[in-house]
């Protein structure tokens, strides 16, 4: 029974925390641009407002459109049960790293179909661009996870990886880990529609990707989609924090370890959030057809990680 309750508790914790980090990200960006910005709890208020409001659906949309936000949210709940967060053993072993990649695909696939619903031109454009990026992201993502699995001797079980890496000691700080982690960070930016891949704060039709796909949603559907995308960045950040740099992740469930684990993961996610804020403040969005270069760099980094794993 514990094997289902603990992951569920973790998922609820991650759902509860994800708007906070979205708020911190917005606040940090605002401060860097010499604005006051809205409070860090603003996303909670936004989501609560959206969830209370009634939906308006396009006349041309089918049954699928109303179903998509639930599937997207459900897949994020599932993923937040599978990634290590505070305690390594909590991560539910339902298929390891590879399944996580495919569940991200489910999320993206449904969102793309949602963009094509209703025959909206903006949605179609967003879907089309999202698909272009995902084709280039997928191999880099798989390879960086493969490098991680290679470091731990071929294990793809998420709950084993932190323990193995910590047991390996300082030797694990091989080039392979650093290269794989940098590749994964680029993937994180691309997957979560951050600058330079996409501008999350724009509704200008020529630049939008992620927002384009969400343009037809409203009310509860929009709230769930926004919450899912906040959770997605949280899940990516905790994968980077707890799988690639697992120090601090609790290995036993003693209270002291748990406290350290919670502090460590929050600190890591905060660092990643601030890093994203810095990048978003200092970079402009790239032109769409410059993005393949960046994604190819990510692919090359992860391939180098694989090669260095064997050579060094």
């Amino acid at each position: 029974m514990t094997c289902a309750i603990l992951p569920l508790a973790q998922a609820i914790l991650m759902i509860a925390l994800s708007p906070l980090f979205a708020g911190i990200l917005k606040k940090a960006k605002a401060r860097m641009q010499h604005r006051v910005g809205s409070g860090v709890f603003q996303p909670y208020r936004d989501i609560a407002k959206l969830l209370r409001k009634n939906e308006t659906v396009s006349e041309d949309a089918s049954w699928l459109f109303r179903f998509i936000p639930y599937v997207c949210f459900g897949s994020m709940v599932l993923l937040s049960m599978m990634t290590p967060f505070i305690l390594a053993d909590v991560a539910a072993p339902y298929g390891g790293l590879i399944s996580m990649v495919y569940i991200f695909t489910l999320y993206r696939f449904m969102m793309v179909l949602g963009g094509l619903e209703g025959g909206s031109v903006f949605g179609g454009m967003g879907s089309s661009r999202e698909m272009m990026m995902s084709v280039l992201i997928e191999p880099a993502l798989l390879l960086s996870l493969m490098a991680l699995a290679g470091l731990t001797g071929g294990s793809t079980v998420t709950s084993d990886i932190p323990r193995t890496l910590i047991d390996m000691g300082v030797i694990v700080l091989a080039p392979a880990l650093v290269l794989a982690a940098s590749s994964f960070f680029i993937t994180l930016l691309a997957e979560n529609a951050r600058v330079p891949f996409d501008n999350p704060s724009t509704h200008l039709e020529l630049t939008m990707v992620h927002e384009g796909m969400l343009i037809e949603y409203s009310g509860r559907g929009l709230g769930l989609m926004e919450l899912s995308s906040m959770m997605r960045i949280m899940i990516f950040a905790s994968m980077l924090g707890a799988l690639f740099f697992p120090w601090g992740v609790a290995l036993t469930s003693s209270p002291a370890d748990l406290a350290v684990g919670l502090a460590a993961i929050l600190l890591k996610i905060l660092t990643i959030t601030l890093a994203i804020a810095v990048i978003e403040s200092y970079l402009a969005k790239y032109r769409l057809f410059r993005l393949p270069n960046l994604l190819t760099a990510s692919f090359a980094l992860s391939l180098l990680a694989m090669i260095s794993l064997y050579i060094l």
Partner: protein, 648 residues
């Protein structure tokens, strides 16, 4: 003991069906299809019967020049036969209810022949029978695909399939020359007798020979044309049941009869490169196709290339890999094959029904079917999700095992750089295929209707039943994936003599838990959905946001535009635009359609054809109809013969 009875119950109705279909009477088609359906129903029992009584074998008491005809259903064959029979049954049931299927009894009769041939090819145990069955599969599919004006496409298939068939025959003859006897089940470990060069030659012939049928580059040229012009049910059967037969014979020949050995790593690398290239090519080309069936043709090619990739990895892993690892990668290939046959037949039937309903074959003229036919669109969504390898459906389980086995092979000698590239190929081709499926579904089912009038009545509820069966199978095979993998692993062990390794299967069972994965996913989705329904009000309806301009059916994103960013990223790989046609049918709007040249056709087949024609004309010059010159030829031949005899 009951083997004869079972085989009689399976084969004889279909043979009768083939005969009945040829008789011209009113119910010929129905009678023939029902008899074939009975045979398929019996075929489904192959695996349960295997579980009950072990191998099913029988030898016909008819002598032939090459030994007796005998069949043997071992674990692997019976699994494949069972799944193929379910698929066959569903396609047959849909055919009876479909508006666009050929109405003649002869078509049903050919379906009977195809069923007999496929099952025989899967379980044949003598050389002659397997070759005869394989040839019959080709002939039956060729005849079934002839319709109206598609002669060119069908003949292209006929020629290429026979080049492949020739290679298969050569390879079996090479193997037979080393073996003592014609019974295939006694051939195991032939590679040790044949030596490495001969076995490599035989394996190459087998890969290319069956590859011609499965769409290995450059033999894929027939696929898109034939799939798009043949009747839906022919394409459905061709891409599923006969592909299953090809993969199964290929597997049994390479790993069962010849057996991979350590020295074949160069061969394995070459085969991997060929299949990886085919996979990426198939996925790339499927992005720019404008007809759903052409998209599916390229997707078949991509899926089958992934299977071939697994098999070549199996050869590669023989060089130092543990037996568990080899089994795992082979199981991945076979599991993906049977999965592919289920979801591909489902999507073929879907596309066929959508074409009936809209009366269009271009994806650009469809759209909005989901609102019109909700049940139909749910079933199709399951097929699409399964093809896009999304959990918890069966396509996901197959691809998961592929990636898992590639990652499991890390650290093996010789594979350091090959395996990451293999994973990258899987990632990029899988995702590109997913894009083309999203495009297929999005532009067929979503958006505003683009065609003028739809006739949803043409897809009746009774045509939906077999599709629901297949969709349920997609789901069930995903949920019970680990169990099916175990069974396939046992079958692989029995067929190839690779000792099975419990370590990997136990490891698999604890790594992949699809029931939990799917259960939590569905529970989360429906819990939130239920909460939403409980506390929410009814959604309001309003037009799509249009910036103030009322939108008509042409003012939405087009399928060509959808894949344009990817086309631009990969533009050096696409051929030239060969057709940019301007449709003048109406005055107030212009329609442009675009078609890309398939570079292999333009750069390989057309020049080859020209060269052959040139050569033929050159040779033709000698045939000038002048009696003197013929006497001259005879004189030259006589002199040459005399010289040869003198000096030999």
């Amino acid at each position: 003991m009951y083997d004869e009875l079972y085989l009689c119950l399976m084969f004889i109705p279909a043979i009768f069906g083939a005969a009945v279909g040829m008789v011209p009477f009113k119910y010929a088609r129905c009678a023939s299809a029902s008899l074939c359906g009975w045979s398929a129903l019996m075929g489904i029992l192959a695996y349960p019967l295997f579980l009950y009584g072990g191998n099913i074998s029988y030898t016909f008491p008819i002598p032939s020049a090459w030994g007796p005809y005998s069949v043997l259903m071992d674990e692997l064959s019976s699994i494949v036969i069972s799944v193929s029979s379910i698929v066959f049954l569903a396609v047959l049931a849909h055919m009876l209810r479909s508006a666009s299927a050929p109405r003649s009894g002869k078509y049903a009769s050919l379906a009977c022949v195809l069923y007999i041939a496929c099952v025989t090819a899967m379980c044949a145990d003598t050389v002659l029978l397997i070759l005869m069955a394989w040839e019959t599969v080709t002939l039956a599919t060729f005849l079934m695909s002839l319709r109206g004006k598609n002669g060119a496409a069908a003949w292209k298939f006929f020629v290429i399939a026979h080049i492949g068939g020739l290679m298969v025959i050569c390879s079996f003859l090479v193997m037979m020359s080393y073996a003592d006897g014609q019974t295939l089940s006694s051939w195991s470990g032939l590679g040790a007798v044949m030596g490495v060069p001969a076995s490599c030659g035989a394996i190459i012939l087998l890969f290319v020979g069956f590859g011609a049928k499965l769409g290995l580059i450059p033999f894929h040229a027939w696929m898109p044309d034939l799939y798009s012009s043949a009747p839906t049910h022919t394409s459905a059967l061709m891409s599923t049941v006969s592909s299953n037969a090809a993969v199964l014979i290929l597997f049994k020949s390479v790993f069962g009869y010849i057996g991979a050995s350590e020295e074949m790593y160069v061969l394995a690398a070459v085969l991997m490169a060929a299949s990886a290239f085919t996979a990426i090519w198939g996925a790339l080309e499927s992005l720019v196709q404008t007809e759903p069936k052409r998209i599916l043709a390229y997707s078949s090619m991509e899926n089958m290339a992934l299977v071939l990739l697994c098999f070549s990895l199996g050869i590669l892993f023989s060089n130092g890999g543990s037996s568990g690892l080899i089994t795992m990668v082979l199981v991945a290939g076979l599991f993906h094959t049977v999965n592919h046959s289920v979801f591909k037949s489902l999507i073929m039937l879907t596309v066929g029904s959508a074409e009936d309903c809209t009366g269009e074959t271009a994806i650009e003229r469809m759209g909005g079917l989901a609102k019109l036919m909700p049940a139909f669109s749910i079933v199709s969504l399951i097929a699409i999700l399964s093809m896009a390898a999304v959990p918890p459906f069966n396509g996901f389980a197959g691809e998961w095992l592929m990636v898992q086995s590639m990652m499991g092979g890390e650290g093996l000698h010789m594979t350091e750089i090959i395996l990451p590239l293999g994973v990258a190929v899987l990632g990029i081709s899988g995702m590109m295929a997913a894009v083309s499926y999203a495009r297929l579904y999005g532009f067929m089912f979503l958006g505003r209707p683009r065609a003028k009038r739809y006739v949803p009545e043409k897809v009746g509820a009774s045509a939906l039943a077999p599709m629901v069966l297949l969709a349920a199978l997609c789901f069930a095979m995903g949920i019970f994936a680990t169990d099916i993998m175990d069974r396939l692993a046992r079958g692989v062990g029995a067929a190839s003599g690779i000792p099975s390794d419990d370590l990997y299967t136990a490891h698999l069972a604890e790594t992949l838990n699809v029931p939990m994965l799917g259960g939590i996913l569905l529970a989360a989705v429906f819990a939130v959905y239920g909460l939403g329904r409980l506390f929410g009000k009814k959604a309001a309806r309003s037009p799509t946001w249009d910036c103030g301009t009322p939108l008509n059916e042409d003012m939405q994103y087009s399928s060509v535009g959808f894949s344009q960013p990817l086309v631009r990223v990969f533009h050096p790989l696409y051929g030239d635009v060969i057709e940019l046609s301007d449709d003048d049918s109406s005055k107030d709007c212009k329609r442009y359609s675009i078609r890309f040249a398939e570079p292999f056709v333009e750069r390989l087949y057309v020049p080859l054809g020209n060269l052959l024609m040139k050569g033929a004309r050159y040779v033709g010059r000698t045939q000038n109809g002048n009696i003197q010159s013929y006497f001259g030829y005879i004189l030259i031949v006589l002199v040459a013969l005399l010289v040869a005899v003198r000096f030999a």
